[in-house]
């Protein structure tokens, strides 16, 4: 009501009335605009590739699991709905022994994806997660792991990392990774 002290009361009152009427006119105009919503189950809405829906674990271009079970996603998760355990396999790779997301608690904030250093965990534009039984919302690794690279096509963590692992059945030994020199012969006499 502070407005009234500046302008004359009458013109302010007219302003106010005009404002309300204009509002109504604007809303009325929308009688003729197309609805933004769609008839959902029959007609699927467009969801952008970066839409934050169901979480998946992706594989690297070689078809190996990207997840190295570093626990960063679980640490970043604000609702603590991720639990996992690391295991080291004979091929030198670290994998999740189990990887569990409790979707009944997930808030799809995408922090896990942001925290993931290997692009393993990704949110997908799939939103159809409803279940009749809450227990079915607990996804284990076999439910999460997909056979694809997700949004990042080329990245392979183990080709950058310095640890020795098998890639495509061949040993990537020390010095074989990208941007690595061959291992130093410590018994060599060269200066």
């Amino acid at each position: 009501m502070g407005k009234f002290s500046k302008q004359s009361t009458v013109s302010a009152a007219f302003d106010m009335i005009f404002s309300q009427l204009r509002t109504m006119a604007l809303v009325l105009k929308h009688t003729f605009t197309k609805a933004d919503t769609v008839e959902y189950p029959e007609q699927k809405p467009y969801l952008a590739p970066r839409y934050r829906g169901r979480i998946v674990l992706t594989r690297d271009p070689d078809g190996e699991e990207r997840c190295v079970a570093c626990n960063l996603c679980a640490a970043a998760c604000p609702v603590d709905c991720i639990a996992l355990q690391q295991t080291v396999d004979d091929d030198g790779r670290k994998r999740a022994d189990f990887f569990r997301i409790n979707f009944s608690r997930c808030i799809f904030c995408g922090f896990c994806e942001e925290a993931c250093p290997t692009y393993a965990i990704q949110l997908t534009p799939d939103i159809e997660l409803a279940e009749y039984d809450r227990q079915n919302l607990v996804y284990e690794k076999e439910h999460l792991l997909i056979n694809g690279v997700g949004k990042y096509h080329d990245y392979s963590f183990y080709r950058h990392s310095g640890i020795a692992v098998d890639i495509n059945g061949e040993r990537k030994a020390k010095g074989d990774a990208q941007q690595e020199k061959p291992p130093i012969d410590i018994k060599g006499l060269m200066p």
């Binding site: 079970a69 626990n71 355990q85 690391q86 080291v88 809450r134 963590f157 310095g162 020390k174 291992p183």
Partner: protein, 1021 residues
């Protein structure tokens, strides 16, 4: 003492302006330590509070200004700069900040992209320092140098690519811990830290590399195999249960299983380092040999299942035995409280410590020594001058009859530092400060404090020693007696005698004595008398000699001889302060001394008692209640007798052993990681250990079981306690001093969180079993314990019992300086020292020595007669197996080279054995096989054995020569098979344990969380 320290320190403080703000820094240490002591963040790598400075990494650069008008300044390495009054330095100025950032950038050029798969991630000093300096993006686009890794054994992993060349590892391993098989190779940016070739690290302290290394070059292999991040660990302050030193540890747990042990700083004891037995030995709590269900009451209770305990049916089953009269056998492995409660349950007349007659005598001698000579803490031995205390540093170390490297490795590490005292003194004389590590070593070279070693076996100290002898126990005693006599003579005459005359005079004076002393001189060989004379003269000139001995040789006479020696030394005039350290056999041995009196039954007496009641058909029949005791000293025959003659045998135990096999009822007891209580270390220090997680039912803490037995078996309701604090309160009300001490120490306003602040109280760890939320780790509202199973409560550092070490921006264990009053000082919240009062018992009222011996022999007769031709068995088992609980760690079993026996050349010649032969040895009716090694320095009747199945409690045992014979060909095959099988089984068990743990990860019992107060308040922490 801490008051003295701080008082003294105040005098050494000067004003230093850091970024124009005045701070008080101590001149006793370098500038970096001073800055850190003021809790300012300054990155560093090569400096270590305990290892000192070498100025290798250039990370701790600060700008030093001439005066307040100087705006330019110059860069100095703070770790190499002494503190000077009025000096002005800048931490936040652009030049030094940029410099520090560039140093990190340079280190990062070769650092691999490993953080996600590195076991150090999340507690990495390099990560912390990178963030601290602000180096956020890698600019370097060139290639990284790489190295191949080495196999360093089952305990420590090697990932050399990650190295940033700070030299800390080699400085710790080689310089500090005296390891010989690890070094630095190469030059410029091809520097390699490792062994000459792949192989197991020999040092007993290799595990410290994990903590010393600022990044992930060295990792804990056991932890990595079943890995979790530090922020996910639920930790609890604990005390190592693997020897009597009582190092403070921090046990980390996740998904219901123990993951690792880290060092927990204790200013008085372990400081920054643990031995590998303590660090890795904790694995026994996960072993397949753990008892996880109740045995013996099953048939009546129904199928036992994990996670469930039905008190009613247990009560019904156990009640059947309520008519029997019970003898309780305590143990030195169980907590002080549990032993106390057991004694209370069965009554003092029916209580045994599980000691044989010999061990009872030994324990009494031990108690006698402890009562007279206060034991120093490890820090007390090591840093005396630097801590500013009045006492002078030790100028002589004498090791007698205890292989500390085997029985108390952490003490051995301390002794190694004590031996450097004279090197520091020498450097100090030319103005080189003690923290100038490299300079001290360069200038002082091999200078060591005099060391004498008088042992029954070889030890790693022999090479460093000014005099080292390997003798039989009897000869050791003779030597000490002779030494005492020599010193006595010298002190009486008040003149320092030249060595030659001393020799003749001593012999003469000894000759004047009784026949006993005559025999002594007869037994002294040339070598021995030379050694004794040298030691005598050194001792007489020393100001503060440190004598280290122990109980592992099982000789009361040895302790008695030491007592005589000490009382003789103590007579010497003012300024002479001899100190004694006695190594006890197990983690709570000294605690048991508290219960020691003439009523205690020795194990032989227990057997007699049972037999008597059996043969006379007495009613009620005698039954046994055995608490965490394996009675490994007993022969098979004795055990059989005990089993047959007692009515019921109830065993409370955490791991399978010979007694659990024959017991009627076995109640699964929580191991050290799951239970609470106190251990009493070699000094008599009562130290609290807390559970890292709740034990999975029916495993329960020993005092809870004893409480249930009190309720249902002994029908003593007042001994059933809902919490350990109540138990302590009960004993405090009955006027027991220890309970009062413990309670005052525990008083705390708020409770400390076991979980890190990253935890939220919610978790998906049990979501696979039920999607419904668990009430987070239960908190019994009436529980008065100081720690909570959640992230709620005070910070970890708000009490002296820190569950884990962390400070903002310092995620690694390096954070400890933030919680110390100053670098290397006491903790901010240092509690009181709880020393158990071990007053002399009635035995020693009588000053007459002979009567004490008589009394002892009358109570617990154990005359050991050594017949001619008998051989003495001396334990030579490596340090990692020199304690019973660590036998259950497969990695230690894999490290074991195989059974071996070392014999002297005389025996070899007589029996025609040669190195490589397989011998059959019969000890306590048990046959064992071992490979022969001929050892020239052994005395003729001593055999050194390293037998897997021979418990450490059997030592210095005489056996007839017949008991050792050459193995037949079939037996050799058996031996080889046994040796091979042991490795195979260990490998298999290692795999099995991992499989079991992984299964457990996904089946964390929900009872683990939920409130079960209905089933009798036994779930609290």
């Amino acid at each position: 003492m801490s008051d003295d320290v701080s008082g003294k320190m105040q005098n050494n403080r000067v004003t230093v302006y850091i970024d124009d703000v005045p701070y008080q820094l101590s001149t006793d240490n370098n500038l970096l330590a001073g800055v850190l002591s003021n809790k300012l963040n300054l990155p560093y790598f090569c400096w270590h509070p305990s290892l000192g400075s070498v100025g290798a990494c250039r990370q701790c650069a600060v700008t030093q200004y001439m005066d307040e008008n100087d705006s330019r300044g110059r860069l100095v390495m703070s770790c190499m700069t002494p503190v000077v009054d009025g000096m002005r330095i800048g931490l936040t100025d652009k030049a030094s900040a940029k410099f520090r950032q560039q140093v990190i950038a340079a280190m990062m050029t070769n650092h691999p992209h490993d953080c996600p798969v590195c076991a150090e991630g999340g507690e990495c000093h390099l990560q912390d320092m990178t963030v601290m300096t602000g180096h956020s993006a890698r600019q370097y686009r060139g290639e990284k140098r790489t190295f191949t890794n080495q196999y360093l054994g089952e305990l420590v992993g090697h990932e050399m690519n990650r190295c940033i060349t700070c030299y800390r590892c080699v400085r710790f391993y080689k310089d500090y811990a005296g390891g010989k098989d690890f070094d630095v190779f190469g030059s410029r940016n091809q520097v390699y830290f490792g062994r000459q070739k792949d192989g197991v690290l020999e040092s007993a302290f290799s595990g410290n590399l994990v903590e010393v290394c600022p990044t992930g070059v060295f990792t804990n292999k056991l932890f990595s195999a079943h890995y979790t991040r530090k922020w996910d660990l639920q930790s609890a302050p604990s005390v190592c249960a693997h020897c009597s030193i009582g190092c403070n540890t921090s046990i980390g747990e996740r998904y219901g299983s123990v993951r690792r042990v880290m060092n927990r700083y204790n200013h008085e004891l372990n400081g920054y380092f643990l031995c590998d037995r303590g660090r890795f030995g904790i694995g026994f709590v996960n072993s397949m040999a753990r008892i996880r269900t109740i045995k013996g009451v099953n048939s009546k209770v129904g199928e036992p299942s994990v996670g469930v305990f039905n008190e009613k049916s247990f009560a019904k089953a156990i009640n059947e035995h309520s008519g029997e009269s019970f003898i309780g056998i305590g143990s030195a492995r169980a907590s002080f409280e549990a032993n106390r409660l057991l004694k209370c349950l069965v009554g003092k007349e029916n209580f045994s410590l599980g000691y044989t007659n010999l061990e009872m005598q030994l324990a009494l001698r031990h108690k006698q020594l402890l009562a007279q000579y206060p034991q120093q803490s490890l820090t007390g031995m090591e840093h005396r001058v630097h801590q500013g205390s009045e006492a002078k540093e030790h100028d002589l170390v004498v090791l007698i009859g205890e292989n500390i490297a085997q029985t108390a490795p952490r003490l051995a590490l301390t002794i190694k530092q004590v031996l450097r005292n004279s090197a520091r003194d020498k450097a100090d004389s030319i103005g080189v400060k003690h923290w100038q590590d490299s300079a001290v070593r360069t200038y002082a070279g091999n200078t060591t404090t005099p060391l004498f070693s008088l042992q029954a076996q070889q030890s790693e100290f022999d090479q460093q020693a000014n005099g080292a002898l390997i003798l039989s126990v009897a000869q050791i005693i003779t030597c000490i007696d002779c030494l005492t006599a020599m010193l006595q003579t010298e002190f009486n005459s008040h003149v320092v005698l030249p060595l030659k005359t001393l020799q003749s005079k001593t012999v003469a004076s000894v000759n004047q004595g009784g026949s006993r002393q005559e025999s002594i001189t007869k037994d002294l060989s040339d070598q021995e008398s030379k050694f004794t004379l040298l030691l005598a003269s050194t001792l007489s000139q020393a100001k503060t000699p440190l004598i280290v001995t122990g109980l592992s040789l099982k000789s009361p006479q040895l302790l008695h001889a030491i007592d005589n020696l000490m009382s003789c030394l103590s007579q010497k005039s003012h300024g002479f302060a001899p100190e004694l350290t006695v190594v006890a056999p197990e983690c709570n041995s000294v605690g048991n001394l508290h219960f020691l009196n003439e009523h205690n039954l020795s194990i032989e007496q227990v057997i007699e008692y049972c037999s008597a009641s059996y043969h006379e058909n007495k009613i009620p029949r005698t039954s046994l209640l055995i608490l965490e005791q394996d009675l490994a000293q007993l022969s098979a025959q004795q055990l059989q007798q005990l089993r047959q003659h007692c009515k019921t045998m109830i065993v409370l135990e955490h791991t399978n052993n010979q007694l659990t096999k024959m017991a009627d009822i076995v109640l699964p007891v929580a191991a050290v990681s799951e239970s609470n209580g106190h251990f009493v270390n070699y000094q008599g220090r009562l130290q609290r250990f807390s559970s890292a997680h709740i034990a999975v039912k029916p495993i329960m803490e020993n005092w809870v079981w004893l409480g249930l037995l009190a309720k249902h078996l002994f029908t003593q309701q007042e001994l059933n306690f809902a919490s350990l604090t109540q138990l302590q309160l009960f004993f405090a009300k009955h006027g027991e001093a220890w309970a009062l001490q413990v309670l005052t120490c525990q008083q705390q306003n708020r409770r400390v969180a076991r979980q890190t602040h990253r935890a939220s109280g919610r978790t998906a760890m049990t979501a696979n079993q039920s999607v419904h939320e668990n009430k987070t780790f239960l908190e019994n509202s009436n529980s008065q314990e100081g720690l909570r199973y959640s992230m709620e409560g005070d910070d970890a550092n708000s009490s002296h019992n820190m569950p884990y070490t962390w400070a903002p921006a310092w995620n690694s264990n390096q954070a400890i300086f933030q919680h110390q009053q100053e670098v290397n000082g006491v903790l901010n919240h240092q509690g009181n020292e709880n020393l158990l009062n071990l007053s002399l018992s009635v035995f020693f009222d009588d000053t007459h020595e002979a009567s004490v011996e008589d009394k002892l022999d009358k109570l617990w007769p154990c005359k050991v007669f050594k017949r001619d031709g008998e051989l003495t068995i001396i334990q030579n088992i490596p340090w990692f197996l020199a304690e019973q609980q660590s036998h259950n760690l497969p990695e230690f079993v894999l490290m074991f080279a195989g059974n071996s026996i070392e014999i002297s050349t005389e025996i070899t010649r007589k029996n025609g054995y040669c190195t490589g032969d397989i011998l059959k040895i019969t000890i306590n009716e048990q046959q064992m096989f071992a490979k022969v090694r001929v050892n020239k320095s052994l005395t003729k009747n001593v055999v050194l054995v390293s037998l897997f199945d021979l418990p450490m409690s059997i030592n210095n045992l005489n056996i007839t020569a017949k008991n050792i014979s050459k193995a037949t060909t079939e037996e050799v095959t058996v031996f080889q098979q046994v040796e091979g099988d042991r490795r195979k089984t260990a490998q298999q068990e290692k795999a099995d344990i991992l499989i079991r743990l992984k299964k457990q990860d996904q089946t964390v019992p929900i009872t683990f969380f939920s409130d079960e107060s209905k089933s009798g308040g036994n779930t609290n922490g």
